[in-house]
Symmetry: C2
DNA sequence: CTGAAAGCGCTAACAT
DNA sequence: ATGTTAGCGCTTTCAG
């Protein structure tokens, strides 16, 4: 007993008294119209009665399309990614596609390996949440024509579809909010420049500071090597040690902002009384911090859902053009930003 | 161009001048020993040169084993589950298995549907993090002999393998900690009794209260219909309204504890000064709450990893017996519990 | 130790 | 409108 998929298309065909290919045509929505309604009804009835379930493996071998896509993420335990993944699954799911996941911890070798196993499994396309601006996997997919969508982060390559947050807008919202509160010397703790998000937020910060007529002092931009609390702490401590007289910090993401909280408190200062801080992402629970974090909310679920939909489009309409899409973030004002006194 | 998996076992065979089945034997570790070393070397060299990648779909059709397993979780955006999923993938990964995920939101119809699509994809086994004590999917898998492992939650059915936290120990740690702090009237906000975790923690609470000689008052156990902040708030408000004179609450999980924080503050009381609170799970960031939450840390990653390993064992050793395994939790003492004054 | 042959379950020309 | 035929890429008896 216990065989996985006992009843085949042949069993149904024999029972109904038609040829297997007729059953196949009934089961496939695209060809169903060519079969006499009575036979369609009979096949469906017998299939239901026998508990027939199509064998996707066999179909995939024959059609060379597995309805499976691969998703590369850095780390599912980073709270940024679960909503993206759910969005992807919901964006795909409506079309019968299924995702397989690979956690790569931002390690290039693991990314390569994950792509290899996914391709061995004949995925129909790939979604990368791991892209670096200069990413060999992106180049490989483009070269080989494997449908590809980048989500959350994008790459510098041309001709690649991507769904990312509008970082320029997000940074502008944060900076204008601080300007409204009377801040004029605003620091930025940037993310890694090898990632599109780090670079875009950094560049946008510099641009908006000038556009708003605020004090443009390059010394007020601190660099980090990772979007992490540790790096935020280190960079913010550096900033404070330089005695630059800033009153606010725009952190490139929430984890960096958390590190900044710590550095501020380590220096004997208080957020927001001495220094206002803004984050980026609106991770779960940053509303429960002391003080609750003012941050830029990225529509992660929607990013994922659009990425899923876009990939399906790319797979099913092979010559649909590559498009770069941005989604609008939203400023969430909480207690970590106050007016200068 | 752009064909997914151009080079087949036949291409390699032709190039080397052997039969495809010989190449297959070389590529399969179990049969490699039967082939002359020179041929093995040559086949491997040509395979590498041509960039041969085995087609898992074809292999799966032939062997009826896809090396794919299905994982059902309630919701990946619940921070409980990402570490479990990573654990599962790491537990499987070493053996070449890949997981496909299904988010079901605790909706039975979605669970059934997810299992159906997974079975259509010929999964070799299932891991459920969604099990209810009385779960039809569990019954179905047992009846049909589909390898199954339950993780995090278990079911009442016999003969099913499970990896869960030792809830009795976790509750005992929390209660004894509160007893040490001088608390004698301790309340419990229980989880849903339809879930093994809700029921086990509830039962363990009652038992340990008696075993420790504390005041066993059934009125001090509040019920909830979900492990959620809203339900925690509601149940805790009820408890407070009854004027039961308790000084501590053991919440069935962290979200319920968060709701309790809110109810306590709504009632004009303070945690921990008026009421100490313990949680369960040690979710990310509960160390950053005000006050930082004393909680029972569940080894989620390890639960997942063991589940992955166990499922592989079940698949590859068909008559290995079902086992129920518990892993030990740990009490994390923070600021939400203090001595009675 | 290796080749031959068959077939997993399905779909897609090609016939009729 | 349906049946025939062939074969996707791989593994696995069975021969030799």
């Amino acid at each position: 007993m216990a065989s996985r998929s006992r009843v085949t298309i042949r069993d149904v065909a024999d029972r109904v008294g038609v040829h297997p290919s007729t059953v196949s045509r009934v089961l496939n929505p695209a060809t169903r119209g060519r079969i006499t309604p009575e036979i369609v009804a009979k096949v469906n009835a017998v299939a239901a009665e026998l508990g027939y379930r199509p064998n996707q493996t066999a179909r995939g071998l024959r059609t060379n399309r597995t309805q499976t896509i691969g998703v590369l993420i850095p780390d599912i335990t980073n709270p940024l990614f679960p909503p993206i993944i759910r969005g992807i699954e919901d964006g795909l799911g409506a079309h019968g596609y299924t995702a397989i996941l690979g956690n790569t911890d931002n390690i290039a070798a693991r990314e390569t390996e994950a792509v290899a196993t996914m391709r061995a499994r004949q995925v129909d396309g790939l979604i990368l949440a791991t892209a670096r601006r200069d990413d060999p996997i992106v180049a490989e997919c483009i070269a080989e024509g494997l449908p590809l969508v980048l989500v959350n982060r994008t790459a510098d390559a041309d001709g690649v579809s991507s769904i990312v947050n509008d970082d320029a807008l997000g940074i502008a919202l944060a900076v204008r909010h601080l300007k409204t509160l009377g801040h004029t010397r605003i620091a930025h703790i940037a993310g890694p420049r090898s990632l599109s998000t780090g670079e875009a937020r950094r560049r946008s910060f510099l641009e908006i500071i000038k556009a708003e007529g605020l004090e443009a002092d390059e010394a007020l931009v601190a660099e980090t090597s990772a979007f992490s609390e540790d790096e935020g702490l280190r960079a913010c401590a550096d900033l404070i040690a330089q005695d630059l007289e800033f009153t606010a910090i725009v952190a490139a993401n929430d984890l960096i902002a958390l590190g900044a909280y710590e550095a501020i408190s380590d220096a004997g200062l208080t957020c927001p009384d001495d220094i206002s801080v803004t984050g980026f992402n609106d991770m779960p629970f940053v509303d429960r911090l002391t003080p609750p974090l003012t941050t830029v909310r990225i529509p992660h679920y929607e990013l994922g859902r659009e990425a899923g939909r876009r990939l399906v489009e790319l797979i099913e309409t092979p010559d649909s053009p590559a498009r770069a899409t941005t989604l609008r973030p939203e400023l969430i004002v909480r207690g970590s930003t106050v007016a200068v006194t």
